[in-house]
Symmetry: C2
Subunit: 528 residues, 2 copies
């Protein structure tokens, strides 16, 4: 049952008076459950519990943390239909998507469980003593990665499971040894509460300290601001808009003790269509991209919002086919009326500019909260001179830019803000003729794709989801894949520390059998 | 010959009108050479050159970068006596220290050369395609670490070689593939120019692109601010005061595109003296710590400025012996009159407080710019209630806190700001009785030392030099050791990218023979 209460550690709590409900965009009606926004007292309690829990949790073994993470996955699956129906009622997304995202969420938890159970991820690095070294003896020094402390995670509107309560940020932070306080996303607070209950149950079943996890309800910005400014918070994860992410980043940077904020924000994911590829298979590409632009109602951070080509007959033909194909696709429901309204407003703002040419717009009857996809085109000079066109329109929308030559294509790419992805569509060998274009694109993105679509973010160790600002606030980390754990840890050295007091990862016997860099040699062997 | 000019790429340049000189604190007189502060035009030129150079340098092979780094080391050594005498004349430090620091600087350059020549540091991670996977085929994705772009390095006052022009920040950034613009430290601008000339010569000899390195003169804060705010700068390295580092951090965070700032700032490096150890060898410890507190005139960031013990006869005896020993040590010269004046002012401010007890103060005749070492003591309550005592006094100065019990010792540690190091002095087995104290200390520091002194930072892979704020602005990185290269890089993915266009580190043949994570298995084998 959804209670609408916060989880302050393992306790449900609703001390506040401000309440709110979630919304079913398909029914265009509020859902029943009423959620109570957290109070300052509840926030302080959650942080004190997290700080206390950190003392024990930071040195909990990888094997125990793995049990906990796997138990969260099990408890999420045990929520079964209740979770799926709540998810659908709070998002308007279909059941297949809900189940797919659940699978991804569970998979992420299990992959972090595997990672920390194996334990080599701590990058154990050992330089043994040289007592006879001249002119000075050398100490024994041993390093590993240790957790930062309580992490606040802001759930994403567009991934109620995979990037929210028990999503990638939470899974990575818990795996690293950090307690997590989730600022629940108000659009899917019920889904959030159910997942939070799964985490709390898993924590109890596996004997984790109370306070390792809290779930904080809030419909405005005040609670989130309190969390980011709270002196006991040591890092922040966020997935959402540039405006929201930047506001949190600024708050964190202005603290007496600044803390890291990893915010994964907007991106228009430029796609470069090279001419030979367009000649060979422009129609197929148009069909593929009509699908990619409208996938998930365009509500993916990797949605292709910008298509770049060289002005030519084949580009014109591509635009025509893309336009024909995209209006064949039935509009689908957006996550929330607010998101739908923002899409309408941002789309119309660009369409109404005299310098843009509207080439496709779904204009048949469209149901409430459903998104009418649109395609615009402009020439390269227009794009360069109007930075409004460089901004993300969250939804099924894309701008095709017709560049006058390769130099302009390169210039446009160099002037783009940072992006999650860049895609190159090329005939075999054609790409070799555009080294400057590729080099410029590489500087602006976190992931380069060849002959594919940017939508679809594989969860695997080689994935980079993140990129130069504003696609993320710290391009030195990825938000997806096992290496995203590095956002929440810091290196830590022990010098001449007694072997029995060292963490297992650094003991001379290497009891965990992990891979370590010992005197500059990567090995699983114990130290003699 | 020292010209006093900036290096804007490989060109010497002095377009400005503002000049300044360095100072010999031993002679208490200005040195002869006159340095010309860089103009905005010169700064812009340096950044444009760096941006252009980055296009080529970012994909320069590890082997070529290694040649360059080793050539810098060679050219620094070739400067020979000229460098050593200039260093001494600008710092008042003895020749032995100059040569030791030169050795360390050269060693750092060579260790980064080894790292990038071998090339496994890029953390190549490969997940091969699964075209038949259900329900969706899996793409081939390959990740490596790539350089961020032009990095600005601010030289440190207290390490004219090892943390300045060609110091750790520069070596790591050049190794990673980032161009470097050094903001030369005004106190040792001549040393800086000589080292810059070595870098420029090495760049020319090894065919590096012009703009890979610039050396910018400045005696105020304006030039540094221009550099940090410059849109073509992508990261900043700094070693110095909390005030200076925080100002740069704030500027970087307020940019339209915020950039990472790694600032290594102040620290008082708490030392916990456990009672049994004091009983057994208090006098020896007092002698050792008198040496550590005055080493390098107390001008090390790891200087032990805070000694914590439990109120007892043995602690009183330790304080007496430390006092006796420290005034036996002849005062030495500080780096600059400004540093000496700041030391006097900060020390006197604390001594003049009614709540502190002065137990040692070198009061014999002291030469100009030489530092009179001092030791104070306070009780635990006084320390907790007066945060002035928590601040660094840069110089040979330390406060001994007499805690009333173990709980207060733990409380004091928990209330400290972030520190580079924490040291525990313990009899065999004694430390086992203080788990809460050790846990609290671990939360506050980057490196824990057992029965040693914090001064002396070994340059090796296991070293962490950095820690929770304000000891550094980003505890997720170290400023010393090969892993400090990670400050200047970001992960980058290629999806389905043609093998011949991939960087060598990711090609299926593994032509560099590096260690890679291939389908979750660490291996040097090629991919079939």
């Amino acid at each position: 049952m959804i209670t609408g209460k916060n989880y302050i550690g393992q306790q449900q709590s609703a001390k506040g008076s401000k309440t709110y409900k979630t919304f079913n965009p398909l029914l265009n009606a509020e859902n029943e459950a009423k959620f109570t926004e957290a109070t300052t007292e509840e926030i302080n309690d959650a942080l004190q519990l997290a700080t206390d829990a950190f003392v024990e949790y930071k040195s909990t073994s990888g094997a125990k943390k793995a049990e906990f993470l796997n138990a969260i996955a099990d408890e999420i699956l045990a929520l079964d239909d209740k979770l799926i129906s709540t998810y659908c009622s709070e998002t308007g997304l279909p059941e297949g998507r809900a189940k797919g995202e659940r699978g991804r969420t569970v998979g992420q938890l299990r992959s972090f469980a595997d990672l920390v159970k194996e334990s080599s991820w701590v990058e154990a690095t050992i330089d043994t003593a040289q007592p006879d070294r001249q002119p000075m003896p050398k100490s024994d020094i041993r390093k590993l990665l240790v957790p930062l402390g309580p992490v606040v995670v802001f759930g994403a509107s567009n991934f109620p499971l995979a990037y929210s309560t028990a999503g990638g940020d939470t899974a990575a932070a818990l795996a690293s040894g950090c307690p997590v306080i989730v600022k629940s996303h108000p659009m899917h607070a019920g889904t959030g509460e159910l997942v939070a209950s799964a985490i709390v149950t898993a924590a109890e079943k596996t004997g984790m300290p109370n306070g390792i996890f809290s779930n904080i309800n809030s419909s405005g910005i005040d609670v989130g601001a309190q969390l980011v400014k709270h002196p006991q918070v040591k890092a922040v994860g966020f997935t959402g808009s540039i405006k929201g992410g930047r506001a949190l980043y600024n708050m964190a940077a202005e603290r007496k003790e600044p803390i890291p904020v990893f915010a994964e924000m907007g991106s228009i994911n430029p796609v470069v269509m090279l001419p030979e590829a367009l000649k060979q298979r422009g129609d197929d590409l148009a069909k593929t991209y009509a699908g990619s632009i409208t996938l998930g109602t365009g509500q993916f951070c990797t949605n292709p919002g910008l298509i770049l080509g060289l002005k030519s007959d084949e580009l014109s033909q591509f635009i025509n086919t893309l336009s024909d194909e995209i209006v064949k696709i039935e509009p689908s429901c957006m996550l929330h009326p607010n998101i739908h309204n923002a899409f309408q407003k941002n789309k119309e703002k660009i369409i109404s500019q005299s310098y843009t040419e509207l080439v496709a717009y779904y204009t048949d009857d469209v149901k409430t909260n459903h998104a009418s996809q649109a395609i615009l085109t402009v020439d390269g000079d227009t794009f360069l001179n109007n930075t409004t066109l460089h901004q993300e329109v969250f939804g099924p929308f894309s701008v095709v830019v017709q560049c006058k030559d390769t130099k302009q294509l390169e210039t446009i790419i160099s002037h783009l803000e940072g992006q999650l992805t860049g895609t190159v569509i090329s005939d075999s060998g054609e790409i070799d003729k555009y080294p400057a274009v590729i080099s410029a694109l590489q500087n602006r993105v976190g992931r380069l794709i060849f002959n594919g679509v940017p939508t679809g973010v594989e969860v695997c160790p080689s994935m980079v989801h993140g990129g130069p600002y504003p696609s993320s606030t710290d391009s030195r980390f990825t938000a997806v894949g096992i290496h995203s754990i590095k956002r929440w840890v810091r290196p830590f050295s022990y010098q001449d520390w007694p072997n029995n007091l060292l963490p297992d990862e650094l003991k001379k016997e290497n009891p965990l059998g992990i891979s370590r860099l010992v005197n500059n040699n990567q090995t699983k062997a114990p130290i003699k």
